[in-house]
C-alpha cells in the first residue's frame, strides 16, 4: 500500500528555518517506520538524515516525534500509526540537520549524576553478593538505553533546558537503589538542586514515551522521596 509521509526537514547549510517535505512510499503494514525512512533515503532522496543503528529498539538512536508522540522509528510498525505519517525531530534539543538533534546537553546531564558504581570497599576476589530481591529494585531503571525520548517529551524541559531531565534521574535511581552502591548521598545532593528532581511536575509524558517501558515518573517520585529522607 501507499503511505504518505510529511517530514520536517532542516539543512543548516541552506535553510534558515525548517520546512515540510512530502513523500509517498510503497510499504507493507508490517514494516517499521525506520524502513520507510530508509526507502526514502536509499531510493529517493539521499539527503534525508537521521540516526539509526540496531533497528530493533535496543540502541536508542532513533527517537523522533511520530504523529505527535515520541517513539523509536524502529519500534513502530506502519499498521500502528495513521496515514499520513508526520515525522519531526525530538523537541527541546537543538536541531542539527533534519531528524538529528544535538545530544551533547542530554549526555552532559547524564554525566552529572555520577552514573557509575561508587563503593570504596575492597570487593575481594569473588563477586559481591546481592539478593534477588535487592537486584529486583533496579530491574526497571537498568533497562534505560539513553534514547532521550522521555526528557524531550517533558514540558518542563521544553521551557527550561537547565532541568536535568527524566533520563538522568532514571540513571541516578539505578545507582541509588543498588544495594552495592554507597554514593547516594552525593547524588541526592546534586538532585536537590533547583534544576534537579523537584522540577518534575508529574506530567507522565516521560512514562508514556519510554520505549523500554520504564516507569519513569515512579522512578522520579522515588528519588524525590529519597531526597527528602536524606535531608
Amino acid at each position: 500500500m501507499d503511505i504518505d509521509l510529511k517530514i520536517l526537514r532542516y539543512d543548516p547549510e541552506s535553510d534558515r528555518k525548517g520546512h515540510w517535505e512530502y513523500y509517498t512510499v510503497e510499504a507493507d503494514p508490517e514494516e517499521r517506520i525506520l524502513d520507510l525512512l530508509h526507502k526514502i533515503k536509499w531510493f529517493e532522496d539521499g539527503t534525508l538524515s537521521f540516526r539509526r543503528s540496531c533497528a530493533h529498539g535496543v540502541c536508542g538512536s532513533d527517537a523522533m516525534v511520530i504523529n505527535g508522540e515520541n517513539m523509536l522509528a524502529c519500534q513502530v510498525l506502519v499498521k500502528e500509526v495513521s496515514n499520513p505519517i508526520t515525522i519531526e525531530p525530538i523537541r527541546g534539543l537543538p536541531v542539527v540537520k533534519d531528524l538529528i538533534v544535538d545530544m551533547d546537553p542530554f549526555f552532559d546531564s547524564y554525566k552529572k549524576i555520577m552514573p557509575y558504581l561508587i563503593n570504596e570497599n575492597e570487593p575481594g576476589e569473588r563477586e559481591r553478593l546481592q539478593s534477588p530481591e535487592d537486584r529486583d529494585k533496579i530491574e526497571d531503571t537498568t533497562k534505560c538505553i539513553l534514547c532521550a525520548a522521555c526528557t524531550t517529551s517533558c514540558p518542563v524541559f521544553w521551557t527550561a533546558d537547565s532541568y536535568i531531565g527524566p533520563a538522568a534521574i532514571v540513571n541516578a535511581h539505578r545507582f541509588i537503589y543498588d544495594s552495592r552502591d554507597e554514593g547516594s548521598k552525593q547524588r541526592l545532593e546534586i538532585l536537590k538542586d533547583v534544576n534537579g528532581a523537584f522540577r518534575c511536575r508529574t506530567a507522565f509524558n516521560c512514562t508514556s514515551a519510554c520505549p523500554r517501558g520504564i516507569q519513569v515518573t515512579k522512578a522520579i517520585e522515588d528519588v524525590k522521596r529519597e531526597t527528602l529522607l536524606n535531608n
Binding site: K41, H56, Y116, L129, D181
Partner: protein, 580 residues
C-alpha cells in the same frame, strides 16, 4: 572542509565492549582517545542478550578446562588451543571484574551471579549441558556496554563521539596515525598516534537477513585490508538458528537454554534426530543446518514452507517474563503474537564473523601468515580473529572474547607506548582521503549507481549464494556478481552534497568495506574444499583434517583475494568426530 590535527599516545577505534575494555586498561597511563562513529552506548554490544560464559561453578561443579574443551570442539578444531586456554581461564576474573564495576547480573537465591545453559557448553567434556553462562535477564550485552561506559565516565576517558575513522597511516611498516571524519561538521581530523586498536565490530550487513546493526560494515578490517593486511578465516561466518522470520532480529539461544524447543511444521522436535544427546542445545552451525535441511525437505512451516517454530509455550509466563523479557517483547512488537501462548516463526540469521583481522593472543595485528607483527597496530573483539572461535563460535564466548582480548589489546598498547617515542605525521596525510571525498561529492548523481541499489544487490546475492550451504557453483556465481558490483561501485554517486551529517557519504564509504568483506569471504570459501563448522560445502561434505587443519589468510588482490595458510595451533584436545 577544515583539517584539524590532534596528537595522542594511543587511539582506540570503536567504543563497543572490546574498545571500552581496552580503554579502561590504557587510559590511566597514557594520553588516549576513543573514536567512535556511534555514541558509545549505541554500539551493538548492547544488543547481546543471552550471557557471558565463565566456569564460576555457582550452580554446579564446573572448571575452565571443560569450557576450553567445549570451545575447541565447538570450533570444529580450528581454534588455536593455547588462545582458547587463555580465554577460558581468564573468563572467571573477567566476569568478577564486571560485577565489581557494578554490572547488575541476575542472582541466585544465595546472592551469587546466576548462570544458565547455552548451546555447546557441557560438563565433563560432553556429559550434559552446563550452567555456565552468566547473565542479566536477556540483556547481558546492554548491561556490559553500560557498565563499561560508566567505568570510562568515572575515569574521564576522552571520547570523540560520532567521528568515523576512514584511514590509517602506516609508514615504513610503522603506525603513524588515523584519519577521521567528524559527522556533525564534515571536518577531517588527523590523529597523530603511534598505537591504534581497531575494535569496530562485525560485518553482518553483507547479508540481507541479519541480527547485526546497520552500522556493522567491517570498517576496521576493511581499512587494514586495503593497506595489504590479510584477513583470517573469512569463510567462517556464523548463522544463528533463531532469527525472527524475515526480519532477522535475534532470539537468543537463552530461549533454548531455558527449555525452548524447535519444531517443524508437524510439531516434531526435529533436533532429536540431528543431535540426540543435547538436542536443541547443539552448537549453532549444526542447528542452522538442521533447520535448512528441514526446510529443503518440505518440513518448513508457513505458506512457503520456509520457517520453523521456536516453541516457548510450555515454559510458563513466569519464566518467560523473568528470564526472557526482551526477546519475547521483540516478538510481541514485530510479529504481534504472544509467545506465552503461540510458537514463534524463526529462520537462521547472519550473526557473527569468526574471521577478521589476524592477531596474536595479545591483540597485536599480524601482517602475514608467518606471524609477523605490525608494530603499533592492535585489534580486538568481533573485528579481530585470535582465533578462539575457529570455524564456529559457541554462544556467550564473544562477550567473553571482547573482555579478555580487549583488556590484552589495551595492555599491549601500553607496553608499546612506554617503549617507543612519539613520531610525527605529516599535514598532507589526509590528502588522499580529501580527494576521494571530493570526487564522490562532485560526481553528478544517477539512480543506477546509488549506494542503496548496489548494497541491496550485494546483500541479496550474498544471502542467496553464500549462506548456510555452499557449492563451487554458487560461490563461482557470486564471484561473478561481485565483479559486477565492484564495477558499479567504481561509478557510485551520491545525492547529498552537504557537509553536516552527510550520512549518505559515510554509507558510500562503508559499502566499499562491505564489498571487501564479501570478496574475501567468497574467495576463502571457494578455496576451502571441505566442510568445517559454519563453512558447509555440499560438494565437499566431510571435514578434511589431513588437508585443511589450517587458517586462511586472504590478501587483497584487486577485486579478489590471494590466499595463504597457517597451521592451527593444537593442544591437548585431539580432533574427533563432532557428534552431540
Amino acid at each position: 572542509m577544515k583539517i584539524i590535527k590532534h596528537s595522542f599516545d594511543g587511539v582506540i577505534v570503536g567504543a563497543g565492549g572490546a574498545g571500552l575494555r581496552a580503554a579502561i586498561e590504557a587510559a590511566p597511563h597514557m594520553k588516549l582517545a576513543v573514536i567512535t562513529k556511534l555514541y558509545p552506548t549505541r554500539s551493538h554490544t548492547g544488543a547481546a542478550q543471552g550471557g557471558m560464559s565463565a566456569a564460576l561453578a555457582n550452580v554446579e561443579e564446573d572448571n575452565w578446562n571443560w569450557h576450553a574443551f567445549d570451545t575447541v570442539k565447538g570450533s570444529d578444531y580450528l581454534a588455536d588451543q593455547p588462545a582458547v586456554d587463555i580465554l577460558c581461564k581468564e573468563a572467571i576474573d573477567a566476569v568478577i571484574e564486571l560485577e565489581h564495576w557494578g554490572l547488575p547480573f541476575s542472582r541466585l537465591e544465595n546472592g551469587k551471579i546466576a548462570q544458565r545453559r547455552f548451546g555447546g557448553h557441557t560438563v565433563k567434556e560432553g556429559e550434559a549441558p552446563a550452567f555456565r553462562a552468566c547473565y542479566a535477564a536477556d540483556r547481558t550485552g546492554h548491561m556490559i556496554l553500560q557498565t563499561l561506559y560508566q567505568k570510562c565516565v568515572s575515569m574521564g576517558v576522552e571520547f570523540f563521539d560520532e567521528f568515523q575513522v576512514l584511514d590509517i597511516k602506516i609508514e615504513d611498516g610503522v603506525c603513524k596515525g588515523v584519519i577521521a571524519f567528524e559527522l556533525s561538521t564534515g571536518d577531517i581530523h588527523i590523529f597523530e598516534t603511534r598505537a591504534v586498536t581497531f575494535a569496530t565490530g562485525g560485518f553482518g550487513k553483507i547479508f540481507k537477513v541479519s541480527s547485526n546493526a546497520h552500522s556493522l560494515t567491517g570498517d576496521g578490517p576493511g581499512i587494514l585490508y586495503q593497506k595489504g593486511i590479510p584477513l583470517e578465516d573469512m569463510e567462517f561466518y556464523q548463522f544463528h538458528p533463531t532469527g525472527i522470520y524475515r526480519l532477522g532480529i535475534l532470539l537468543s539461544e537463552a530461549a533454548r537454554g531455558e527449555g525452548g524447543i524447535l519444531r517443524n511444521k508437524d510439531g516434531e522436535r526435529f533436533m532429536e534426530r540431528y543431535a540426540p544427546s543435547i538436542k536443541d542445545l547443539a552448537p549453532r552451525d549444526m542447528v542452522s543446518r538442521a533447520i535448512a535441511t528441514e526446510i529443503s525437505k518440505g518440513n518448513g512451516a508457513g505458506p512457503q514452507n520456509d520457517y520453523v517454530y521456536l516453541d516457548l509455550t510450555h515454559l510458563g509466563a513466569e519464566t518467560i517474563n523473568k528470564k526472557l523479557p526482551d526477546i519475547t517483547d521483540f516478538v510481541r512488537t514485530y510479529v504481534k503474537i504472544e509467545p506465552i501462548n503461540e510458537p514463534i516463526p524463526v529462520q537462521p540469521t547472519a550473526h557473527y564473523a569468526m574471521g577478521g583481522i589476524p592477531t596474536d593472543v595479545n591483540g597485536r595485528v599480524l601482517s602475514d601468515e608467518k606471524n609477523t607483527i605490525l608494530p603499533g597496530v592492535y585489534a580486538a573483539g568481533e573485528a579481530a580473529c585470535v582465533s578462539v572461535h575457529g570455524a564456529n563460535r559457541l554462544g556467550t564466548n564473544s562477550l567473553l572474547d571482547i573482555m579478555v582480548f580487549g583488556k590484552r589489546a589495551g595492555q599491549s598498547m601500553l607496553e608499546y607506548v612506554s617503549k617507543t617515542k612519539a613520531s610525527s605525521i605529516s599535514d598532507s596525510s589526509s590528502d588522499d582521503l580529501v580527494k576521494k571525498i571530493n570526487n564522490l561529492i562532485e560526481k553528478e548523481h544517477t539512480d543506477e549507481f546509488s549506494v542503496g541499489r548496489i548494497r541491496n544487490d550485494l546483500q541479496e546475492s550474498m544471502e542467496k549464494n553464500t549462506k548456510i550451504f555452499r557449492t563451487e557453483e554458487t560461490l563461482s556465481e557470486q564471484t561473478k556478481i561481485l565483479e559486477d558490483l565492484r564495477e558499479r561501485y567504481e561509478n557510485v554517486t551520491i545525492f547529498d552534497k552537504g557537509k553536516v551529517f552527510n550520512t549518505e557519504l559515510m554509507e558510500t564509504i562503508e559499502l566499499d568495506y562491505l564489498l571487501d568483506m564479501s570478496e574475501s569471504t567468497v574467495a576463502s570459501a571457494l578455496a576451502r574444499k571441505e566442510s568445517r563448522g559454519a563453512h558447509s560445502r555440499q560438494d565437499f561434505p566431510e571435514r578434511d583434517d589431513a588437508e585443511w587443519m589450517k587458517h586462511s589468510f586472504a590478501f587483497k588482490n584487486g577485486n579478489s583475494a590471494t590466499l595463504r595458510y597457517k597451521d592451527v595451533e593444537l593442544g591437548k584436545y585431539e580432533p574427533m568426530e563432532r557428534t552431540y
